[in-house]
């Protein structure tokens, strides 16, 4: 009997033992009298008058005689009885963790230590203890099984020592793995990656994710439809351009949208919807394009480079209903003395916005220069009608009358 009793062992008198009929030594009798209900060996050392070795020997004797019995610690964290442990191989478990003073039993500690140690090395399938081919039902089952060990609620209020932190990391890992495997899309992608890493080409196989399958099915169905009906092919192309145009609209890319609607109309010229959308967007697209030309003109002009005339002219042509663009190019032409062109743009500016005084004044002045008396007088009179107190217009009118 060389085995020593562990300090944590809890002892009690074996139920049903008839204390009166035992043949005990005085030391044994004394020890027995000290035991009150359930007591740990550590506590017995404290209250015993014998020294530690003697106490241990007496207790050991009493256990061997069947007078005392070991009691399972009341609070012990155990693995569920039907739990299947991982294959640990020849893992060596850290001694401090195995001997730490906390509630889990040895088998439990081994399982948790193994999982924690190998969390990153094990595949999600290995971690959860399931086959690579497992489907939803098995994955769920495995998750439930592991949750009962790893979820923090399973050991609420228990003394788990340093295992507590490990468990929270493990549970986090478990719930991530579970989420990933539960969704067939991410599961198959994970399998593909895993098969490359592990060099096991068969794992992922030909399996397609539901998303891929759906996409493929849609494609096949569409091709089939188009093959049966050549007219539909054109219509469907038009539809594609139309959809692209709509998404451009959302992003406020007016020019691209207009181009797409135009393309849609070339494939399906009679479609009223496309025409309507094009009309709606054309104005905005032209304005944007014109603004770009105009800005380019401004930049070129500012840097004293050639080509700004052309840029301004293009702006006015692309978006003919802008007073600003028309007046700008008109001014440039009148500077050059090209009265025909200046008159053309000034006239357009006035038509774009008949109430714009600047446009009318400019037009009037150009007409004066261009010797068109009647029209010039009309313009100045129109200005005065809009703004009776416009001194400049009065002066111009007077001068024009004097000129002719």
């Amino acid at each position: 009997m060389t085995q020593i009793i562990e300090d944590n062992t809890i002892l009690r008198v074996r139920p049903g033992v008839d204390l009166g009929n035992l043949n005990l030594s005085s030391q044994e009798g004394y020890m027995l009298s000290r035991i009150d209900g359930k007591m740990t060996v550590r506590d017995l050392y404290q209250i015993s008058l014998l020294d530690k070795t003697a106490t241990a020997a007496v207790l050991k004797n009493l256990i061997d005689q069947g007078v005392l019995a070991e009691v399972d610690p009341p609070n012990i964290v155990k693995l569920p009885s039907d739990y299947k442990c991982h294959d640990y191989g020849n893992t060596i478990f850290s001694l401090p963790a195995m001997q730490e003073d906390c509630e889990p039993e040895k088998a439990w500690r081994k399982e948790v230590l193994f999982l924690h140690e190998n969390m990153d090395k094990l595949s999600h399938f290995e971690f959860m203890g399931i086959e690579v081919a497992s489907e939803e039902a098995e994955i769920k089952k495995a998750f439930v099984r592991l949750s009962k060990i790893l979820h923090p609620d399973s050991y609420y209020g228990r003394n788990m020592g340093t295992f507590k932190k490990k468990l929270s990391e493990l549970y986090n890992h478990l719930s991530e793995a579970y989420r990933l495997l539960l969704d067939p899309n991410t599961r198959i992608e994970y399998k593909r990656k895993l098969s490359i890493v592990r060099g096991e080409p068969d794992w992922a196989g030909e399996e397609e994710t539901p998303e891929e399958r759906a996409r493929k099915n849609r494609q096949v169905a569409k091709e089939k439809r188009l093959k049966n009906n050549p007219m539909m092919s054109r219509v469907s192309k038009a539809g594609e351009f139309y959809q692209a145009g709509l998404s451009d609209l959302e992003k406020q890319k007016w020019i691209s949208a207009a181009n797409n609607f135009k393309m849609a109309l070339t494939y399906d010229p009679l479609n009223e919807l496309y025409k309507l959308q094009l009309e709606k967007v054309a104005d905005a697209a032209n304005r944007v394009a014109a603004e770009r030309h105009f800005q380019r003109g401004q930049t070129l002009e500012a840097y004293g480079q050639d080509g700004y005339m052309e840029a301004y002219e293009k702006a006015a042509q692309t978006y003919p209903t802008s007073v600003e663009f028309n007046l700008k190019i008109c001014g440039l032409y009148s500077d050059q003395g090209d009265w025909d062109k200046a008159e053309h743009y000034a006239a357009r500016a006035v038509t774009s916005n008949p109430k714009n005084l600047d446009a009318r004044m400019t037009y009037g002045k150009i007409l004066v220069k261009h010797k068109n008396k009647e029209k010039a007088l009309q313009q100045f009179e129109a200005v005065l009608k809009l703004d009776p107190n416009n001194e400049q217009a009065k002066a111009n009118l007077k001068e024009a009358k004097r000129w002719f």
């Binding site: 769920k140 439930v144 949750s147 009962k148 979820h151 923090p152 609620d153 609420y156 549970y171 986090n172």
Partner: protein
């Protein structure tokens, strides 16, 4: 053993349960009620009333009676719900020091957690009376859509009431637990929870004791009280049209109407027509009394609230869509909350889920039963047989440079969960970084004008290494526990300097304040106990005084006129006189002294007369 109780702290009613020898049981109060109104009041004499007692006197004391405090808990003063309550609530709301909401009752200011604590300690008292053991721990339920601050504030309320809230559980999850407890099943169920103030829909999968929440959705501004106010509005409008008097200004009238509307609504769940009868509600110009006497039929009510019910159905549809499910995938539907007794709701739910709701569970009681089960499971069960796996209904992240939100824990993540994200500095030689923790708006948390995202807290990580921008690495670590309460820390990866934020600072009550409130509440508990003891003494004294006084005239015939007996009789007479005086003056100390004497005297006399 320390007992743990489950409390369903509702907007209108509160219910307490506990697991007795493995059987979850609702605890009724002394008067036999299983549910207690979530109402507290302070009487003019400064006495605290909770539950039925508070509700009964609400009419005569409307400005010192607090209803539906749950709608205000953990909310900031500026939030739309508080601003709305300001207009409609009969009691005075004031702004607290931390931008929170407080209530002013008889000149004293109370925080909302204190108000809730009064209800919780009443529940605790009811439970202790029943279990006959002290109760220190509790599981309290909250709507799934409660945000961090609201959960924290609920925990604070528990602490003030002297309860260790070991877990905050979502109401629909708790109801599911009550449904599945003790049964072996594999089912998918929906929990439709229309309480007094909030609506929640959750879809759960129950699989051998594991309750996994698949999705949840809801509206924090939709509940039974909205149904009541539709009836009130209707009556008020009709009254205005008839008499030209707007009763909205009259707190007392509103209070009476509120009660009447609620009871009309409740009775319309069982009868086709009822009457709202409020005599002498106001007086007209000629000082003639005016009455409200209106018939209301079930159809009338259904017409008034149809849109509210449709809103709940829309949310159900959204929840199912989020979980990628169809109504026919579900095995069962649970109805929780008293409002679900309304026949139209039951019909719409049946219609939508194509499945008649499960009716065995009482909609008022299921949640507290579930809470008790969860508490029992955590503390007392040895087997890891049942587990709750809940989700976070909102996303959590941090606000980084230029106000852009970086999500760290997405919506519908299982809790508990911890996640981290690496950030870097945005300018050269930056020495500190500000981390602002933000709770994003829950998808479809709905509600008119409810703040979409809330800043939970912020902290500054200082003394970073001087480095060009982008070189310093900062790791932000989020930890969301099983209560749905968040802890955030940030660590500078170079210097390993770490800082943890305690988000409880943002639950609108400081630690010091809570301590003070705990003290107050403890003092109050003792005082209340003394009060009850006194009533008992007084009762005993009165009873024995009466019995002795009855016997006195007959005593002479029983005793011979010896000197001894005369003295004894004098003593008794003297005792009776003293008792009369003590009772008249309500002298507590004297009564306690006399109680024992009277008892002994009464016994002696009784014995003497028997012989």
């Amino acid at each position: 053993m320390a007992r743990v109780i489950g409390i369903d702290l509702g907007t209108t009613n509160t219910c307490v349960a506990y697991v007795e020898d493995g059987v979850p049981t609702i605890i009724s109060n002394k008067a036999g009620y299983k549910i207690t109104p979530s109402v507290i009041a302070i009487t003019p004499s400064g006495k605290r009333l909770v539950g039925h007692a508070a509700k009964r006197q609400a009419l005569t004391n409307p400005s010192n009676t607090v209803f539906a405090a749950k709608r205000l808990i953990g909310r900031s003063w500026d939030s739309p719900s508080v601003q709305a309550a300001l207009i409609s609530s009969p009691f005075d709301l004031v702004e607290g020091p931390n931008k929170d909401v407080r209530v002013k009752l008889h000149g004293k200011i109370y925080s909302i957690p204190e108000i809730q604590a009064m209800i919780l300690s009443e529940m605790r008292r009811i439970a202790e009376e029943y279990i006959k053991e002290p109760v220190e721990k509790a599981v309290v339920t909250v709507p799934a859509y409660f945000k961090d601050a609201q959960r924290q504030a609920t925990k604070d309320a528990g602490r003030i009431a002297g309860l260790d809230v070991i877990r905050i559980v979502n109401e629909p999850t708790a109801a599911a637990l009550a449904y599945g407890y003790g049964k072996s099943m594999h089912k998918k169920i929906a929990v439709y929870d229309l309480g007094g103030g909030t609506f929640d829909i959750s879809v759960l999968e129950i699989n051998e004791g594991v309750y996994e929440v698949l999705t949840s959705n809801g509206d924090t501004f939709l509940g039974g009280e909205d149904f009541d106010s539709r009836i009130m509005e209707w009556v008020l409008d009709e009254f205005y049209q008839e008499h030209g008097i707007d009763l909205r200004e009259d707190k007392m009238a509103i209070q009476r109407l509120k009660d009447a509307a609620e009871s009309a609504k409740i009775s319309l769940s069982t009868v086709q027509e009822t009457e709202i009868n409020l005599p002498f509600i106001a007086t007209d110009d000629k000082k003639q009394p005016l009455h409200i006497q209106k018939k209301i039929s079930r159809e009338d009510l259904e017409g008034m609230v149809e849109d509210l019910i449709e809103r709940t159905v829309d949310i159900c549809a959204r929840a199912l869509r989020d979980a990628n499910m169809k109504p026919e995938d579900l095995d069962s539907v649970l109805l929780v909350g008293g409002q679900t007794r309304m026949p139209l709701i039951q019909a719409r739910v049946t219609d939508f889920f194509q499945n008649a709701p499960y009716k065995t569970l009482n909609p008022d009681e299921a949640v507290s039963l579930g809470a008790a089960i969860q508490g029992n499971m955590l503390l007392e069960s040895q087997e890891q047989s049942t587990l709750l796996l809940d989700l976070t209904p909102y996303n959590l992240g941090i606000m980084v440079a230029s106000g852009y939100f970086k999500e760290i824990i997405p919506k519908d993540s299982p809790i508990p969960i911890s996640k981290s994200h690496m950030f870097t500095t945005e300018s050269d030689f930056q020495e500190k970084v500000r981390v602002v923790v933000v709770q994003g708006g829950a998808k479809g948390s709905g509600g008119e004008g409810e703040e979409d995202s809330a800043v939970l807290g912020e902290f500054i990580l200082e003394d970073l290494k001087r480095a060009p921008r982008g070189e310093t690495k900062i790791k932000v670590f989020f930890e969301l526990d099983s209560n749905g309460v968040l802890k955030v820390s940030a660590r500078d990866m170079d210097t390993s300097k770490q800082q943890t934020i305690s988000l409880s600072a943002y639950s609108y009550l400081t630690e010091k304040e809570i301590r003070g409130m705990i003290e107050d509440s403890r003092g109050y508990t003792l005082e209340q106990e003394a009060d009850e003891r006194m009533q008992e003494v007084r009762f005993n004294v009165e009873k024995m005084f009466q019995s002795i006084s009855d016997m006195l005239p007959r005593l002479d015939s029983y005793f011979n006129s010896s000197e001894e007996n005369k003295q004894a009789l004098d003593k008794i007479r003297n005792l009776v006189d003293r008792a009369t005086e003590a009772l008249e003056k309500d002298d507590r100390e004297r009564m306690v002294e006399l109680e024992e004497y009277l008892k002994r005297t009464e016994e002696i006399l009784r014995a003497a007369m028997m012989s």
